[in-house]
Structure formats: structure tokens, C-alpha cells
Symmetry: C2
Subunit: 282 residues, 2 copies
């Protein structure tokens, strides 16, 4: 590709840009971001070659990448498709997929769009958090691929492949349902744990001196960006509420066993959950 | 010290033995473990120099370290104190402190015992999981230090210092109350999250293909040893139930905001919890 535009120069967009540079897949990368500070940082860090306004950037690009919060992406995507050149493709990287697919469902240029979700990230945000290796050995999901042109899907596949990212495909609805459990729910549990301990700390100073690596690992996602996660929680509300309710039942089950000192049942329960080790290692 | 006995040759005891060897603090380390396989492994890995029965090991030691599940430690500690030589000290390393302090409260040799809890560990267990650096830059808590002889406390302090572990002191009750929030609760949330996703997986195959590093970090503690954690949950029941209830309220608060699509409130909530970043980095 000659020219690629990245909209949103944070952790995800910035890392994708650095990855494209490393693999030599893009000759020139244009950055678009409403935050002037992020634009300056992205230039200074060599993440992008130049900064442009949205429309002129899109008009001269072979590929446009949306790496902004999902609520913003749903506003910008239909606008881009309105004037997108015939052979230019646009992909998003958001954490929910049904919403964005719905807003362009009947757009005449729907086939120029590829809905994707790379399961990659850290708890950090902004251009300074970006690094080329973010997508290495991760999984990316392409949703509703049949609604995109074959050329567009092949291009996106080739890019992910070059970034060493494994691609799987599914419907937008299946994606949102499953991701509620293996990503969105763990953000909820981390935020709730973080807030629980922060509130206790008001009365019990220095409690964090006692926090070890276990707590740190469990609460890590509570550092995540509110701008990114607020719209995700709301958009995937229906699936997420189901996941939270299922989770609540497990918390209640453990609570009850502990309250009644059911040693054997607790042991049995923990042993069963240990099976997560096998599954994560596979 | 000439001779040290380690009772329990798993992750904690094994790592402590390796640390003592590395710092040259112990000339000889005797291992005691009811699991013959662990004894063989500990010998083969150079964690201990010999394996002995409990009593003869204690009788020839300068220091005895209890690194077994807390329910077992509470049975063994009073027995050891019954025949412990005058100048031999015993320390435990369990995750709850009120229980073990209570069982030896009136023992005539109480002063030979130092109650400690190193906030260090991984999700792995057994001698093969042990490594000398486990305690490096971690925090260890000595509880009810005034009930131990000064000589005993100074010895334990010196050892932790040599392992590069920072020591803080507090009462056994305060320890158990605080640790419920910053350690035991995060094990509950991890186990519940693990079980939630394992149950969903029964119907939705391949859901774990979509799990990223965020899920893995949040669920890591669900790999922890049931033998170690069952008695911890039960012994710290009272504090832990309070912590679970506080946590439940946070989950419910998030659930409600999500159900009502309260974007501003969610954003505000997540931003507040981001403060955990400042606290963990301090």
C-alpha cells in the first residue's frame, strides 16, 4: 500500500501504525486525531509521517483504520463511506461489533468496510503507550466478512498475517456475546475490585502496602481508559448484563460455601476452576 | 545459622530455602514434607540438603519454618513448641494470622514463635515452582511481635532483610482484616470469573480463542492451590464475607449504571477507579 490513514493515535492505532512500518506494508502513514497533543506526540515518536484533516487524508489513502472509541467510530464511519474512493478500504478495531455493523448495514459502500477486533491491548493509553509488537501472536476477529468485498477482506487478512496475528471469523452478534465473557466482564470485575479497595483505604491507611502481585494482576484492567470503556459497556449492555448475572451467581455460591465453612465443597469448587490452567495454556 | 528446617517444600517453603542458600544464611537445610514425591524433588532440585522426620529435624535446628497450609500449621505448631529447644525459633508464613496466634496464645514457649506473612507467591505450587528470587522487593508482615522474644524477631527480621524483603508489623487481627481486601478477595473474584467462563464454554466452544491478556491477568489467581486456599477462605471467613459484600455492592452499582446506560456516571466511576494506578505505583 502506498498510503494508510490511522484515525486515533492512541495505544491501538499507534501500535498498528508502528507494526505497519516495521513490516514495510505502508509507504506513508497519515495520522488523524482530534487531540493536538496526541498528534504532536505521534509525529515526534515516528508513529505517523504526517497529520491531516479527516477527509483529505481518506481521499488519498489505500486503507483507512478506525482506532477511536466505538461511539465515535459509529459517527465517523458512515461519513467516511459517503466519500470513500472506490478502491479504498476502511477497517475498525473496536471491542463491540454489532453496533458499528448496524450503522452501515444499508450504506451503498458497506463492502468497502471490514469490521475487525484485535484482542490485544494493555491498561495504558495514548501514543506513548504504543509499541510495534502489540499484535504479535494475538487473535483478531473479522466479523460479518460476507458483507465486505473479497478484496477488502483479503487486504485486512494479509495485514494481520504480517503482524503475526491469527485471524478468526464470526458474526458480529456471536462476537459481542462471547467477548462479554472473556473481555468485558473481566474489566467489570477489575473496576469493582479497585473501587472496593480504594473505598476501604479511606479508613484504613497504608492498606496498599500489603497488596502483592496477585492483587496487582487482578486489578490491572482497572487502569483502563474510561473514554474507551464507557461506550463498550453501554453498547454491549445486553450481553454484559447476562455475563454479570452469571458471575454474580458464582460469587454468591462461593460466599455461601464460605459462610457455612463447607471445606469439602470449596476445595471441590477451586479444583474445578483450576481447569482454567489447561484452557489458557492450550 | 547452622541448621534450618523447612516444613512444607512447596512454592513458598522451597523458595525460602533457595533464598537462604543464596544469601549464605544457613549452612544446612533440612526438609520435612508428608509428600514423598515433593521430598524427592526438593532433594533433586537442591532445595534441601536432607529429608528428616519432623521431631529430629526440629531438635537439631536453629530455626524452623512452617510453610504448609494454615490448617496444618495450626496443628503442627503447638506440637513443635512442646519440645522446641530453648534457643530454637519457629516462624510460620501463612496467609491468615489470628488463627495460628490463637492456638499458641497460652503456650509456655509462645515467645519462640514469630508469626509472619510474606506477601509473595505465584499461581503455581510444588517444589518445581520454587525460585530464590520470590521474596525480592516484596513486603512481609510480622504480627504480634511483642509476643515473641526480641531475639526471635530480630532473627526473622534479619533473614527477610537479607532476602530483600521489607518488613512491616501489625496485630494479627489488623492483618487478617486488611489482607481480606488486598489478597483474599482478589482470589475470590478470580475463581468466580474462571468458573463463569468455564460454564459458558460448555455451550460455546472455542470461546477461549477470544481470551486476551486482560482476561488471563484477571483470572490468573484461579490457578491457585485449593489445598492452600480452602482453609484461608474459611479461617478468614468473617473479614472475607465483609469484603465480598462490599465488592458485591460495587458490582451491583456498575450493573445498574450499565442497565440504565448512564454514560456520564460510568465515565465518572471508571475515572475514579483509575486512581488505583497512582496507588499501585507508589
Amino acid at each position: 500500500m502506498k498510503t494508510v490513514t490511522i484515525i486515533g493515535l492512541g495505544l491501538i492505532g499507534g501500535s498498528f501504525a508502528l507494526g505497519l512500518k516495521r513490516t514495510g506494508l505502508a509507504e506513508k502513514i497519515i495520522g488523524v486525531d482530534t487531540n493536538p497533543e496526541h498528534c504532536q506526540e505521534a509525529l515526534a515518536l515516528g508513529i505517523v509521517d504526517e497529520i491531516k484533516e479527516l477527509k483529505p487524508a481518506v481521499l488519498q489513502s489505500d486503507l483507512v483504520i478506525l482506532a477511536i472509541p466505538i461511539n465515535a467510530a459509529q459517527v465517523v464511519l458512515p461519513q467516511i463511506l459517503d466519500y470513500i474512493p472506490l478502491e479504498t478500504y476502511v477497517m475498525d478495531m473496536g471491542s463491540t461489533k454489532a453496533g458499528i455493523c448496524a450503522v452501515v448495514k444499508n450504506h451503498p459502500n458497506r463492502k468497502n468496510f471490514v469490521a475487525t477486533h484485535p484482542i490485544a491491548g494493555t491498561e495504558n493509553s495514548g501514543p506513548k503507550a504504543a509499541f510495534a509488537e502489540l499484535f504479535l501472536n494475538k487473535v483478531s476477529i473479522i466479523c460479518d466478512a460476507h458483507l465486505s468485498s473479497e478484496k477488502a477482506v483479503n487486504l485486512v487478512r494479509k495485514i494481520y498475517q504480517n503482524l503475526w496475528t491469527n485471524v478468526i471469523t464470526m458474526s458480529a452478534e456471536a462476537h459481542d456475546e462471547h467477548i462479554a465473557y472473556v473481555s468485558h466482564l473481566s474489566h467489570i470485575t477489575s473496576f469493582a475490585l479497585g473501587q472496593t479497595v480504594l473505598e476501604i483505604e479511606k479508613d484504613e491507611k497504608n492498606i496498599f502496602d500489603m497488596a502483592g502481585s496477585g492483587f496487582e494482576s487482578t486489578v490491572r484492567l482497572a487502569k483502563s481508559s474510561p473514554a474507551m470503556w464507557t461506550p463498550i459497556f453501554i453498547q454491549n449492555r445486553e450481553n454484559l448484563l447476562k455475563a454479570i448475572d452469571t458471575y454474580e451467581k458464582q460469587i454468591q455460591k462461593m460466599r455461601e460455601m464460605i459462610e457455612n465453612s463447607e471445606a469439602e465443597n470449596i476445595y471441590e469448587y477451586l479444583s474445578q476452576v483450576n481447569d482454567i490452567r489447561r484452557i489458557l495454556n492450550k
